[in-house]
């Protein structure tokens, strides 16, 4: 809302510096976003008088305060700041015969959408250019001067907040105005020359034969004022805000009028606005104002009476103001207030439809008293603050993964559905009905594709070594189509994990499946989750022979693997990144709440190496099983020390070097004891896995 200061002075006196006024308004809730200076030359350049300079406040109006979309509405907020009274315009109209009601008949067929309809008729008007002073106002308000009649309707709208519409009376058929719902498939060409399809949800102003305006939004071209117009009908009406909003949205239109009606227009100002326009038209267009406005107002709105309790005001605001001061605050806003026993009786004017209850008036007292004067206290009573279980685990996981070299990432949940396709999970995708663009049309089904995108972007930035993780929501539609969301945790690695590794053998540095698995294992370790299994599996996102499902006990909780080459190609990722993704709640549920302590062993350990040649078809996990079973509790740890393929080793076979640690919790083991168990283990390996020992 652009507020000309020069104009504002017509309604209220103030002498304070404008900066102070702007601050005062801002602190009262009318945020002055910008202060604009308009020079004489600038006025002249836009067709104005070139005789005045002006300052304009650009004020942000909250959607509950339609009354602030007018000069008098703003003046009413200046009043308590400067301690002055607002002067409303008092139109002086010389009326002549015939009476308006003899020239036009008004009927409201849809009173639920039109509360009040007022019109004034002015005859023999000369439509011409507006005088300089009027054009100055229109320019300062950010509009373009058109002609005297249009400018006057805009002027009055800006002044009083009442949108007006001027019809060429001679173009209205049957001397009739009918405020009714449009008929389905009825059309109108609005003054912007577009044909609009109407329906019965929309309110129109019609004459005897056809709609002549979309009520409260825009007039029709057929009854528009032109240079040849002589007789003018000024409409000043009060339309239902929800109805206007629906219609404007459906027609994809927004006008100064609809903007105001959506936010509420004072039903008490309708007649004044019509008279004000009539006065100005007669004054600037030389016409005769017909006697008496026509006013159809089936159920007049009375000012609302609301009581407030001073004790309650003080309790809610946390202050101690006396009742007299509260009354003064309210009266300064034209809310007539008087003490009534323990309470204050307030008469809420019709221009304040936002005030319906005591709490609304408490806010008004607070506003005038000044929010900045409110004291600062803390709520009484103590309470135990805490994080959610998810929040706690999330923090723990972050620390574990950061310690493993993971950089925490934060990616968008709204993504291209192509990512779900890459992950082979398109049918689970939750899609947006009104996306911003085609690339932002769905919610991520998994985190891992997002992390691959992070890798791609970093590779483009010249960074080949990336190790990232993210903990966040993923979204999915279940079989019935219902959308759900859950927390997931994912990681992705590519390149090598050394920031600087000069002098180290290059081949050993590149991350692979096992590096990624190691990170995952450290995560389970950190959560004290045991009994984790990695089972060979396939997943559309993963390399067909380098992928695993992750189990805790029998519960499948996620996947791990090298990203599929198809996915990498689609996403433009170089190298061979590995990813994992786990269900967050599964971790929460499988992580033990209580961890038991085991005394460190007292007796020394003995180590033996086993070098075994086995077929590649035998999984390592099987060897571990065989060793543990044969070791009968004496095997404390099994470490894979080396894997060798090539010379002296048969095709399809590998030579594994295993370090086996033996220990008893009861005594120091002897060489003989260990050797006999080792023999059992070798037996088991050769029988169970066809192992050959070197």
């Amino acid at each position: 809302m652009k507020v000309s200061i020069d104009w504002l002075r017509q309604y209220i006196d103030f002498t304070c510096p404008l900066g102070e006024l702007a601050d005062g308004l801002t602190m009262a809730g009318l945020e002055v976003e910008e202060t604009i200076q308009i020079s004489k030359a600038e006025f002249a350049a836009q067709g104005g008088s070139g005789e005045i300079d002006d300052t304009v406040f650009d004020i942000k109006v909250t959607p509950n305060r339609g009354d602030w979309l007018s000069m008098i509405g703003v003046a009413r907020e200046v009043a308590p700041l400067v301690g002055e009274k607002v002067r409303l315009p008092e139109p002086k109209v010389i009326e002549s015969e015939p009476a308006s009601s003899e020239l036009i008949e008004i009927r409201i067929d849809a009173p639920e959408l039109c509360r009040r309809y007022v019109c004034a008729v002015i005859r023999n008007v000369t439509v011409k250019e507006s005088p300089g002073w009027l054009k100055d106002r229109i320019i300062a308000a950010g509009m373009r001067p058109i002609n005297n009649v249009v400018d006057i309707t805009n002027f009055v709208m800006m002044e009083l907040g009442q949108p007006l519409h001027a019809f060429d009376l001679s173009l209205l058929h049957g001397n009739q105005i009918i405020v009714r719902r449009a008929k389905d498939s009825e059309t109108i060409t609005s003054i912007d020359e577009s044909e609009r399809k109407l329906d019965s949800e929309m309110l129109v102003i019609a004459d005897h034969d056809r709609p002549v305006a979309i009520a409260g939004i825009m007039g029709g071209i057929d009854s528009e004022i032109g240079e040849q117009t002589k007789d003018i009908l000024i409409e000043s009406a009060n339309f239902n805000s929800v109805g206007i909003r629906r219609t404007a949205k459906r027609l994809n239109m927004s006008t100064d009028a609809s903007y105001r009606f959506e936010r509420g227009v004072d039903p008490g100002i309708t007649v004044l606005a019509a008279l004000r326009a009539a006065e100005l038209i007669a004054q600037l267009g030389g016409g005769e104002v017909c006697k008496g406005v026509v006013d159809v107002y089936p159920s007049p709105i009375e000012p609302l009476e609301v009581k407030i309790r001073p004790a309650r005001v003080n309790k809610i605001l946390g202050v101690s103001i006396d009742a007299g001061a509260m009354i003064a605050c309210l009266n300064s806003l034209d809310i007539e207030s008087a003490i009534d026993g323990e309470a204050i009786n307030c008469k809420v004017p019709t221009f304040r439809p936002d005030i319906t209850h005591e709490i609304d008036l408490i806010e008004e007292v607070g506003r005038v008293y000044g929010y900045d004067k409110l004291p600062m206290t803390l709520p009484q009573g103590a309470s135990q603050g805490k994080d959610s279980p998810e929040g706690k685990l999330r923090d723990k996981l972050r620390r574990i993964l950061m310690a493993s070299g993971g950089q925490e990432a934060l990616t968008h949940s709204i993504v291209d559905i192509g990512l779900a396709r890459v992950a082979g999970r398109e049918e689970q995708s939750v899609n947006l009905r009104n996306p911003l663009s085609e690339e932002l049309n769905s919610m991520r089904v998994m985190l891992a594709p997002n992390l691959l995108q992070v890798i791609e972007r970093n590779q483009a930035f010249g960074n080949q070594n990336v190790c990232v993780f993210e903990i966040g929501k993923v979204y999915f539609a279940d079989a019935s189509g219902k959308s759900s969301e859950k927390l997931a945790i994912a990681g992705a690695v590519v390149g090598n994990l050394w920031e600087r590794s000069w002098g180290l053998p290059a081949k050993a540095l590149d991350v692979d499946f096992y590096t990624c698995k190691g990170i995952l294992e450290s995560l389970f370790d950190g959560l004290c989750i045991q009994n984790v299994k990695f089972v060979e599996a396939t997943d559309p996102l993963l390399h067909p022979t380098r992928a695993a499902k992750v189990f805790v006990g029998d519960r499948e909780i996620g996947i791990l693997g090298e990203a599929a080459s198809t996915a990498l190609e689609t996403l433009g990722v170089r190298g061979r990144p590995c990813v994992f993704e786990l269900d967050f709640h599964a971790l929460m549920e499988t992580a033990p709440q209580v961890v038991t302590y085991q005394e460190p062993p007292r007796y020394p350990a003995m180590q033996r190496h086993i070098a075994a040649v086995v077929a590649d078809s035998i999984p390592y996990a099987k060897l571990v099983d065989l060793i543990r079973t044969a070791g009968g509790g004496m095997v404390e740890e099994i470490e894979l020390l080396d894997v060798y393929k090539g010379e002296h080793i048969g095709e399809g076979q590998s030579s594994l070097t295993l370090g086996v640690v033996f220990r008893s919790r009861e005594k120091t083991l002897t060489d003989e004891e260990v050797n006999s168990v080792l023999a059992l283990i070798k037996d088991a390996l050769s029988q169970g896995a066809n192992a050959i020992f070197r």
């Binding site: 809730g29 959607p63 605001l317 929010y371 409110l374 603050g385 709204i414 009104n434 911003l436």
Partner: protein, 341 residues
């Protein structure tokens, strides 16, 4: 030559070669040569039998003296040589300490998650319980239960992404109030944080996705002053210094009275600068007392209970604290950006 002369010359020869020894290995062989079991000096003792009886004692003494003298000389020389040899070894093992260290990549936290964490800790310290809340909400939780009238212009500020007619991505974390109030009884102090979505095109200062924190409390006797004090305490903790809190009337359907809150500009300390557009204050978020309609709708008598609620965006804080000018950096995950903060 007399036996004594021989001994004397052996002794002199030994001392001379000890003096000339270049390393401890030479010294070792000198030791063996003269003092070993068959050493030249040691073996002089064997000649003792061929001496006249009266000379034996003196000669024995002389051999022992010679042995001791040689031994002492060897010990002294060895000490000198060890340190010379060590020095030589150290020179040989010298490294260039100015060459770069080898460094395993250490992970860092994401600045936005860090900020959320910090905010969370402050509110937990103030007695708030954080709860997990869904991002996919229904119209009722996001709007209706928050006192948004149907078809109200206030909805224009909350352009939503819809999934179905009734399901949408929450436009503010405030959407969690309905669920929490439906399941708890006062007194309560509850908070949540997370992603919110509005249909806003992406540029340096706008995004369709942003993070918010929302807190509310319901109890007997909660006032605007309590709200202001709470926000003040948070801001002092967050920014680590005394700041002023400014309340300005504002409108949110779910609060009445409603306010927008600002704190002293952390860049200029309140003197006015580019960032605060000269006002000396930075707008942080929206606040107010929970609308009595909402209390009533959840079965809490507004005559008995009152409450306050406030919420704010997260991105703005690190942007201010680190002078980050482009919002998009947060979700771009450029390691060159993330590893700095």
């Amino acid at each position: 030559m007399s036996e004594n002369d021989i001994l004397q010359s052996l002794r002199n020869a030994a001392l001379a070669s000890i003096h000339e020894a270049k390393n401890s290995a030479q010294l070792d062989s000198i030791e063996t040569q003269y003092l070993g079991r068959k050493g030249e000096i040691t073996s002089q003792l064997r000649r003792i039998g061929s001496l006249p009886a009266e000379e034996r004692k003196d000669f024995g003494q002389a051999v022992n003296d010679a042995k001791e003298a040689v031994d002492a000389a060897i010990t002294a020389r060895r000490e000198a040589l060890v340190s010379v040899e060590a020095d030589a070894k150290f020179v040989d093992e010298a490294i260039d300490v100015t060459m770069p260290g080898r460094l395993w990549h250490t992970g860092r936290s994401h600045i936005l998650v860090d900020t959320l964490q910090r905010i969370k800790e402050i509110f937990i310290g103030m007695g708030y319980e954080f709860v997990e809340t869904p991002e996919i909400e229904d119209y009722k939780s996001n709007f209706e239960a928050l006192n948004y009238p149907e078809e109200h212009p206030a909805l224009d500020e909350q352009m939503s992404f819809y999934i179905t007619d009734d399901t949408l991505l929450r436009t503010h974390t405030t959407a969690f109030q309905h669920q929490v109030m439906s399941n708890r009884k006062p007194p309560m102090r509850v908070a949540t944080l997370g992603k919110c979505y509005r249909s806003d095109a992406v540029d340096a200062t706008h995004s369709h996705t942003f993070h918010q924190v929302d807190c509310f409390t319901i109890d007997r006797g909660i006032s605007m002053a309590d709200l202001k004090g709470t926000i003040h305490q948070f801001a002092v903790e967050m920014f680590g210094r005394e700041v002023n809190v400014r309340f300005r009337p504002d409108f949110f359907p779910f609060v009445e009275p409603g306010a927008e809150f600002s704190v002293t500009c952390i860049i200029c300390g309140g003197d006015g600068c580019n960032v605060c557009k000269g006002s000396g204050f930075l707008e942080l978020g929206g606040a107010g007392l929970i609308h009595p309609n909402i209390l009533t709708a959840h079965g809490f008598d507004p005559e008995e209970y009152s409450g306050f609620a406030f919420g704010f965006g997260i991105e703005r804080m690190p942007m201010l604290m680190y002078g980050i000018r482009d919002l998009r950096l947060f979700m771009e995950n450029d390691m060159r950006f993330l590893r700095q903060l």
